[in-house]
Amino acid sequence: MTTLSPEAPASRVRPAERHRVLLAPITVTPSKPLTPSHLKGLLWTDVMYRATRPLAEVTYRYSHTTYHATEQTLGFWEFLDRTHGDVDYSGLTVEQIGELYVAFRAADRAPAEALRPYDDAAERGWVHPASARVLQLWSGQYAALGLHDPGLLRHQPPGLTLEAMLSRLTALGMCLDQRDVGGPVYLDLTRHGLPLRQLVTPDGRPNYLCCALRELLPLAPDFDEVVLLYDGELDPDYQQLARVLAAQGPRVRRVSLGRVPVDGQIRSARHGGWRDLHAGPLLENALAEHDAAAVCLGMRLYFIAVLGPGQQQSFRADLLRQTLRRAARLLEAAPQHEVSPLAEHLARHRKDQLYVDPYRLTSGLLGRRRAAPALDLLATVFL
């Protein structure tokens, strides 16, 4: 056993040689409870972030501000004010706000004009009290899960305005702007055989892909590698996004994660029906039986190693409980340090990319023939 401290291996790589990696996961609309699918994405990204940090300069970009401009967020806020008026959201639970969101998704859409005041305010940093309340509750859950907080409550505006982003795309020959005939704006990668993708509707509303471009186009040139983590259903959009960002210089990696089915069914959180299968109750049950460290490790083992990147397995509470117990045993048995220096150990879980593969790393902890993982690895990445 070596006596290296967890920080020592990282310091062996000289700063001048350290590559720059941008992790850019898709965000969750702050309007509902965090479901197993959301938790999987968050835990996956967190392990990737913390495992890659000893090897590279990693920026974890996760800005709710950027995506407030989408119709699903602004529309929700407008719907709440129009149908419920002045409500004290500070006393509501995330489930109660989630129920309001379900009602919004089932209701008729407001015209684009009605969303404009909300858009203007959000661009200046305003957040509707309902979403502010959700973000505050999520912050507590992030802390309980040991998740790095990428700035849930901070105003993190995208680097480009809509018009500046479209100008940048036009200069790249990737924009088809038909607003002069009352039409939409498209991302145009037809030169590469990819279909036209709408970015702005004829009535002027940007979609999430448009918001992602406002954020990531100006950031991309500063990085050697950009890692996009997203829901597998969005693969066609992310292929397009990757193509645009790659034109800015970095290598772009797409990490597509399957959702977590519940009782064999993949349901969107917008339909509700999350029962007790979301972050709050899952954490409460876990913490009733285990300490915080076992919960952090167990959740990561379950949502990463047990469920894997696909979406074949339904969520199983019994398997989660079993994995939490396994985590507690691993922690009890953990030696102080890994046999090899930590950076070397982490670097083994990469292929030709700069980021550490969370699945390879985490499932490696469960290998039967593997020695118990050491506290330096667990504390750096999993707790």
């Binding site: 088809l176 009352g182 145009d188 037809t190």
Partner: protein
């Protein structure tokens, strides 16, 4: 000239007769009901069969597009023209940038400024890949107001066949989007070219009017549609006048 309901019915009947004589023979096209019945038969036809052309539009300028539409139609070979005519010169307008498509797709005509491109009329299957890649041209804005403008029909005039002429081309702008105007004008223009009414060297005077009524000259080609305000009436969405000789 006043376009009576009967005159509109005659224009509509002539178009069906020119395109599909056998279908025309099945209906009494002198009556409103007969025209509607013929229209129903046409609408019920399988859209995956028949000939269609695709127009890819990056941007739209009425005069420029009119000129290029004529250039495209003048280049269509007679066999393609006959089957396209039988399909009522069906045309699909798509949003797209010809500059990005010319390598992968073959176009019969491309606007010199690359603002638009036309595929040769052909089966739906032939343009399926292009249609999958692009989206329908979505242009809900009204035609921007503009003064009358004269468009020179491109190509070398065949003066031995017939002298150059000028015609006026009217488009009714009331309640009409750019997308709708494209459809109306396209039918009038390409059918006039296929019928020899428009030839290289001719001039077209484009006139935007709220309604095509009381035109100073008789109309040689009319785009007849149902009147939104009264389904029992027809109206002219666009019209091409008889010739006005040019010096």
């Amino acid at each position: 000239m006043t376009l009576t309901q009967q005159a509109l019915r005659e224009h509509a009947a002539l178009r069906i007769l020119a395109a599909r004589p056998r279908l025309a023979a099945r209906h009494d096209l002198t009556s409103h009901e007969g025209l509607l019945a013929a229209q129903r038969d046409i609408t019920a036809e399988d859209p995956t069969e028949g000939t269609l052309a695709v127009v890819v539009l990056r941007s739209f300028d009425l005069a420029r597009w009119t000129r290029d539409t004529c250039a495209f139609a003048l280049g269509i070979d007679p066999r393609q023209a006959a089957s396209w005519r039988a399909g009522f010169t069906r045309t699909v307008f798509l949003a797209g940038d010809p500059a990005h498509l010319c390598e992968r797709f073959s176009f019969a005509h491309v606007a010199p400024d690359l603002s638009a491109a036309w595929t040769a009329p052909g089966s739906a299957a032939r343009s399926a890949a292009l249609r999958r890649l692009l989206k329908l041209f979505n242009a809900p804005a009204a035609l921007p107001a503009r003064p009358d403008v004269v468009v020179d029909v491109p190509g070398v005039p065949r003066l031995a066949d017939r002298p150059r002429v000028r015609r006026a081309l009217y488009i009714a702008t009331a309640g009409c989007t750019i997308a709708e105007a494209l459809v109306h004008l396209n039918h009038v223009l390409v059918e006039a070219v296929l019928d020899g009414l428009i030839a290289p060297g001719d001039q077209l005077s484009l006139r935007q009017v709220p309604r095509v009524i009381g035109t100073p000259a008789r109309l040689a080609g009319v785009r007849v549609i149902a009147d939104d305000h009264d389904p029992n009436r027809l109206r002219a969405a666009a019209g091409l006048t008889e010739e006005i000789p040019l010096a």
